[in-house]
């Protein structure tokens, strides 16, 4: 296994490695931003989180919300739902930012592949 890795780094293309690692981080981000509740599938995105906040501000405690496939899903506790979306978003994007920073400043290909 170790010799395979050594061999791999002999041929490696620095720029392609960085660009593709960012591409794979984005694929990870997209999967992790998916949230689910009561059979509905939602994306923890800033616009959607703000929209839920707006409904709460308008005085609603629960309401049916359309999921990503336009299915109406009854959300019984909108505040808890918003908090779930918000914490998912901040956690996932924080991890993404950390990995991104590691790639941005790293010049050792072995370490980039460790991100």
């Amino acid at each position: 296994m170790a010799s395979n890795i050594e061999k791999a780094y002999d041929f490696v293309n620095f720029r392609a490695t960085i660009v593709n690692q960012k591409h794979l981080l984005l694929a990870q981000l997209e999967e992790r931003l998916t949230c689910y509740i009561n059979g509905g599938v939602f994306r923890a995105e800033p616009g959607f989180i703000a929209f839920i906040g707006e409904i709460i501000t308008s005085g609603y405690e629960s309401a049916p919300i359309l999921d990503v496939n336009n299915n109406p899903i009854l959300i019984e506790d909108l505040v808890e739902f918003k908090n779930t979306l918000l914490s998912s978003y901040t956690e996932v994007v924080y991890d993404y930012w950390q990995d991104w920073e590691n790639i941005r400043t790293e010049r050792d290909l072995k370490k980039i592949a460790d991100v």
Partner: protein, 272 residues
């Protein structure tokens, strides 16, 4: 309502699909905490479907050999699945997060993806459509379904396509003689929608809308830890040139069966 994952695993002369399925089952149980039911040739024989397993022969780049392509019977998953809600996965679609748990209890009775994302950025995807001006591809790598009348018809159409493959090849103008579940699922989705794209019955994508997919030449270099792998990505149109990247917490369809089997001990160690 019972729920679980079903994987078909039929060995050929070289490739031990059953071991691949068991390795992936341990990854699924680790990440999703749902039961996994593996349908092997033994189970197919008990059900009386032995004659529907072998599809023909195809060349496997990872083994550089032409081997039996035992990828039939998928249309019988409606009958063979022991679950009310089933997620049927390819044995080589390695599960490295819990996001597909979003399917359970979903109002939609059938979900299948029409998009994939290649392991190498911007790589040309050959089968976005069945042919250049044809219908959209639906990828049979992952299908979620409930046991309803609509879903039964979906799998009936897949079986009909299998039995009349040359006819459908002409009608839908796709290439190749070898039956593909992806093509049959695409045609079934199209026909169920009254021969439109996806307007009559709603068959949405799975919660992971784009499946990360590698090429047969790509390899697993190392499992660093659970849900974190180093991959050797071959550069398109540059034979023998490759880069090393990492993939973590992302499900990945690894077409290179040999590299999964080579990592078997490590997977078994990490996901026991």
């Amino acid at each position: 309502m019972s729920k679980g994952v079903v994987i078909f695993a039929f060995n050929n002369e070289q490739i031990d699909y059953e071991t691949i399925a068991h390795l992936n089952a341990s990854m699924i149980e680790y990440n999703m905490n749902v039961p996994v039911h593996i349908i092997t040739s033994y189970e197919a024989a008990v059900a009386g479907y032995t004659d529907q397993i072998a599809i023909g022969n195809r060349h496997y780049k990872d083994y550089n050999q032409t081997l039996s392509f035992n990828n039939g019977l998928r249309w019988n998953v409606f009958e063979l699945s022991p679950f009310d809600e089933t997620l049927v996965l390819d044995a080589d679609y390695l599960i490295m997060n819990d996001r597909l748990n979003a399917v359970w209890g979903n109002p939609n009775e059938l979900m299948i993806n029409t998009d994939i994302v290649p392991l190498f950025k911007d790589e040309f995807i050959e089968n976005v459509r069945l042919h250049d001006l044809g219908i959209k591809m639906a990828w049979a790598t992952a299908i979620y379904f409930k046991k309803t009348a609509l879903v039964e018809q979906f799998f009936n159409i897949m079986e009909h396509v299998y039995e009349n493959y040359m006819y459908y090849r002409q009608v839908y103008e796709f290439g190749g003689d070898l039956y593909r579940n992806d093509f049959a699922a695409s045609i079934a989705r199209h026909m169920l929608n009254s021969f439109t794209d996806n307007t009559m019955v709603s068959i949405p994508s799975l919660p992971i809308s784009r499946l990360l997919t590698s090429k047969p030449e790509d390899e697993i270099v190392d499992f660093k830890c659970a849900n974190h792998i180093k991959v050797k990505v071959m550069l398109p149109n540059k034979p023998n040139e490759y880069i090393i990247n990492s993939v973590k917490n992302t499900n990945i369809h690894f077409l290179n069966k040999k590299t999964i089997l080579d990592s078997g001990d490590r997977i078994a160690e990490l996901y026991r």
